[in-house]
């Protein structure tokens, strides 16, 4: 039985979920496309962003917006730390993709268990978001949903513009399409890698915080969104989405599929 009301409600929630998935995919994708690292530990950046905000709010008593900033800063710091302390020395030694992936896996396991030891296995909320519900016809949604969609796509378009227009973005794209050639023309791979780790970590932090505002933080929260991010990237473009325009088109396609699947 076809119910228009149900369909539109599912379409709306599909768009909300799809947008956050798209953001996750892009956050993983910028790192993967440039460094070829299957950055599993992205899940920890996601989890850590949430926990940092929760702690800043509950323990340090910061206002919500500042707590969210703390979450983003911590996520970026972790991304930089992982790149500098773990991946870069290994890359210098010519480590294989598999070795890098296993390192990432080890970081994820150690990280999520450490969070459980420090914060306990129970869920932690991030309260204080002024939640409002809207109704348009029979379809209801919250201002957080709206925020999620807007922020996600603003971030995604921001990344695209950054990659296309700025000097650093162009260097990143050059490194994505041909690393050796990019190095030959004077682009420093180390710098580009650091840049994409920062970029990816900010995006994953945004995604984590949007989620936690309406949900809770838990030690293993990073796993399933990251899996979705991985799958999004691989589905997104068979040629490993070298071109951002194509990536974007694929994302929108994915979004539609996702909303249909929800329904």
């Amino acid at each position: 039985m076809f119910s228009f009301q149900l369909f539109s409600q599912l379409l709306v929630s599909g768009i909300v979920i799809g947008s956050s998935y798209a953001l996750l995919s892009v956050s993983f994708g910028v790192i993967y496309a440039t460094t070829r690292i299957f950055h599993f530990a992205h899940a920890i950046a996601y989890t850590v962003a949430s926990y940092a905000s929760v702690t800043a709010l509950a323990k340090a008593g910061l206002p919500l917006w500042l707590a969210l900033m703390v979450g983003l800063v911590v996520a970026v710091a972790l991304g930089i730390l992982i790149e500098l302390a773990a991946y870069r020395p290994m890359r210098r030694r010519g480590a294989s993709t598999l070795a890098l992936f296993l390192t990432s896996l080890g970081l994820t396991i150690a990280g999520s268990n450490l969070i459980q030891i420090v914060f306990g296995p129970e869920n932690k909320p991030l309260p204080g978001f002024p939640m409002k519900t809207f109704a348009v016809g029979a379809v209801t949604f919250t201002n957080l949903h709206l925020l999620t969609v807007i922020v996600s796509w603003v971030c995604i378009f921001g990344v695209v513009v950054f990659l296309k227009k700025t000097k650093y973005g162009k260097a990143t794209r050059a490194a994505q399409s041909n690393q050796q050639m990019a190095m030959a023309v004077g682009i420093e791979m180390d710098g580009v890698s650091l840049l994409v780790f920062m970029l990816g970590s900010v995006l994953v932090g945004v995604s984590a915080l949007l989620f936690t505002l309406g949900g809770v933080a838990s030690p293993n929260m990073g796993l399933s969104p990251i899996l979705i991010g991985f799958i999004g990237v691989f589905l997104g473009d068979r040629e490993r989405f070298r071109r951002s325009a194509r990536r974007l088109r694929a994302r929108s396609g994915y979004l539609v599929v996702r909303s249909v699947a929800e329904w």
């Binding site: 390192t103 080890g106 150690a110």
Partner: protein
């Protein structure tokens, strides 16, 4: 006593899971993140088969208990080995078609998560989050054996079996193929081996062994729940293999013992307490993984390294195999000792056209890499393809050997069009190639490199390996003797047991030629056989090629050195921008002024 036996059983389960995953991860270099799920599929299969049959009146659903078939544990075990095998085939077939490692990680990861989720949600079959219970324990002759010390025996037997089977497979010709695939799959295919079948098989074997462990564990714990088969366990098993040393079974056993004793040890440390012992175990092996990858990526016991007593056993086993080797087997053919030119023999007695190419074309995007090429490779004659970089020479090789599909045109081999055949098929027909970048298997010995190329080895088939152990062992002795003979032919017999990675580039090229010859192919396509090696080795390679051609092989070389082409080639094709511009003898070509200008120089 019970406690120790219980810890022992846990470790033995890790050993079984570890050695089976090592076959996949360490030997074949294929990452599987789904090992826990195969273990789980075995457990659920065994559980569903052995659970007692419930009367409909009792209302299985009403009590929330799933009804089983009431089988005995032993036949159920056999089915529990077979079912994961089938699942593995289903997942492996799409996985192995694509060769990229990341894709495989993703696919197995998705399989792990989805199946684990299904275990939770298919409540009518799996009992949902509460799982299946009570599964009947082990029994022998009507006696139930449910205490840990009683069950321990079954696990010891199973672990010994698993280690034996994986060791036997790993050290067989099949295992050699696995290592070859790990090192360079394209090169294995070019030797005429069907790597797809090998990869699918090894997936199946690894899953079947994990399924066995799952069934036994279900009899012991008498309880199955989805949480036991989560991604955490898959990652844990990967850590066991990697920490111990990928490609080394003793290392895996060591890894299982070390990581398996972590939880019981941590539980007994007062300040951690039993509730935090599992997270601490995660932290420790996670950090361990990072440290090992950073400082000792080959693991605690690297491949090929083993404790003394084991090494002794291995050496005596291989001595038995190689004892009769060098010189005991002749190539069975008389390659001429040396030759000045190949076709110098009888003028006019031209051999047949073994390979004929007509209208071959291929585009890469907008670039016409090869644009309607016609050429013929004649038996007993050395054909050379020359021309500037990017003229399409290697692309032609790639199309003739099936590595690349032409957009149009035909490749005739002894009168049949072979376009569209798979690379390993063409290699078996006798069209074999060497690579510009050599592509020898770096982490294998020179002998293993050559032995892998020997066609028709029964030990590459797991069924025959299991059913005809003596025949396969005899065949392996012969293979090794042949490999020795080929190495001797190229003058490399003294370096037979060296790992290829330790050889010089020139020596690696010689090993590559021996490997090529061992395929027994008739048409040899040599891509820059003398590039990057010193003058002495160049002469050695020239001499070898001449002798091969004299013997009757059809030889085609791609070469930039005018000196080498001049010495070798009877017929030369000059290519530019994907088309044949001129052909003839080297003398003809060097007398054409426009070619001198653009290519040969003055």
């Amino acid at each position: 006593m019970d406690y120790l036996a219980d810890v022992g059983i846990t470790i033995l389960i890790y050993i079984i899971l570890g050695v089976s995953l090592n076959l996949l991860l360490g030997y074949a270099g294929q990452v599987s993140m789904a090992h826990a799920v195969f273990y789980g599929i075995g457990a659920y299969t065994a559980g569903l088969l052995t659970l007692p049959v419930l009367e409909a009146a009792e209302g299985a659903a009403a009590r929330g208990v799933t009804s089983g078939l009431g089988w005995n544990w032993l036949p159920a075990l056999l089915i529990a080995v077979a079912v994961p095998l089938v699942f593995a085939f289903i997942i492996a077939i799409p996985a192995v078609v694509s060769v990229t490692g990341e894709y495989l990680i993703l696919l197995t990861l998705a399989f792990q998560v989805v199946v684990n989720q299904l275990m939770n949600s298919l409540t009518t079959v799996t009992g949902g989050p509460y799982g299946l219970t009570p599964i009947p324990p082990f029994s022998l002759f009507g006696h139930e054996l449910s205490s840990p010390p009683q069950a321990l025996g079954f696990f010891v037997v199973a672990a010994l079996l698993a280690v034996f089977v994986t060791w036997r497979i790993g050290e067989s010709p099949f295992g050699r193929l696995l290592k070859g695939i790990r090192e360079d799959e394209i090169a294995v295919r070019a030797l005429g081996k069907n790597t797809l079948i090998v990869k699918v098989t090894v997936f199946g074997v690894a899953a079947a062994i994990a399924g066995m462990a799952g069934a036994l564990a279900s009899y012991y714990y008498q309880f199955i729940a989805p949480g036991n088969y989560s991604l955490d366990l898959s990652i844990f098993v990967v850590a066991v293999v990697v920490l111990g040393g990928a490609g080394n079974l003793i290392g895996t056993i060591l890894g299982a013992i070390v990581l398996g004793s972590l939880t019981p040890l941590l539980q007994n440390i007062a300040w951690i307490g039993s509730s935090n012992s599992i997270p601490w175990q995660g932290v420790i092996y996670g950090v361990g993984l990072v440290i090992i990858m950073r400082f000792r990526p080959q693991g605690i016991l690297p491949e090929g390294l083993s404790p003394r007593w084991f090494k002794h056993a291995a050496r005596s086993a291989s001595a038995e195999l190689t004892g009769a080797a060098p010189g005991s087997w002749s190539l069975g053919v008389d390659y001429p000792d040396s030759a000045e030119t190949c076709a110098s023999g009888d003028e006019g007695d031209e051999g047949e056209d073994v390979v004929r190419i007509s209208g071959l074309a291929r585009n890469f995007g907008g670039l016409r890499a090869v644009d309607g090429v016609d050429m013929a490779l004649r038996r007993g004659r050395i054909t050379a393809l020359i021309g500037p970089n990017g003229a399409g020479k290697t692309t032609i090789f790639n199309m003739v050997t099936g590595e690349l599909k032409p957009d149009s045109g035909q490749v005739w081999f002894r009168g049949t069009d072979v376009v569209g055949e798979k690379p390993h098929k063409l290699a078996r027909f006798g069209i074999v190639r060497s690579f510009q970048d050599v592509r020898v298997f770096q982490q294998l010995s020179a002998l293993e490199n050559v032995a892998m190329a020997v066609p028709g080895q029964p030990g590459e088939n797991l069924v025959r390996l299991g059913l005809q152990p003596r025949r396969t062992r005899r065949a392996e002795r012969e293979t090794r003797a042949k490999a020795h003979a080929y190495l001797d032919f190229v003058g490399m017999s003294e370096k037979a047991d060296e790992l290829v990675v330790n050889l010089s580039f020139g020596e690696q090229k010689l090993v590559a030629i021996a490997r090529l010859l061992a395929t027994e192919g008739d048409v040899l396509l040599l891509d820059e056989p003398t590039s990057g090696i010193d003058a002495n080795s160049v002469n050695q390679v020239i001499d070898l090629i001449l002798r091969l051609c004299r013997f009757g092989k059809t030889v085609c070389i791609v070469e930039h050195s005018v000196h080498v082409v001049d010495k070798l080639a009877d017929h030369v094709y000059f290519l530019d921008h994907g088309a044949v511009i001129e052909e003839g003898t080297m003398k003809d070509l060097t007398s054409r002024p426009h070619l001198v200008e653009v290519y040969f120089g003055t």
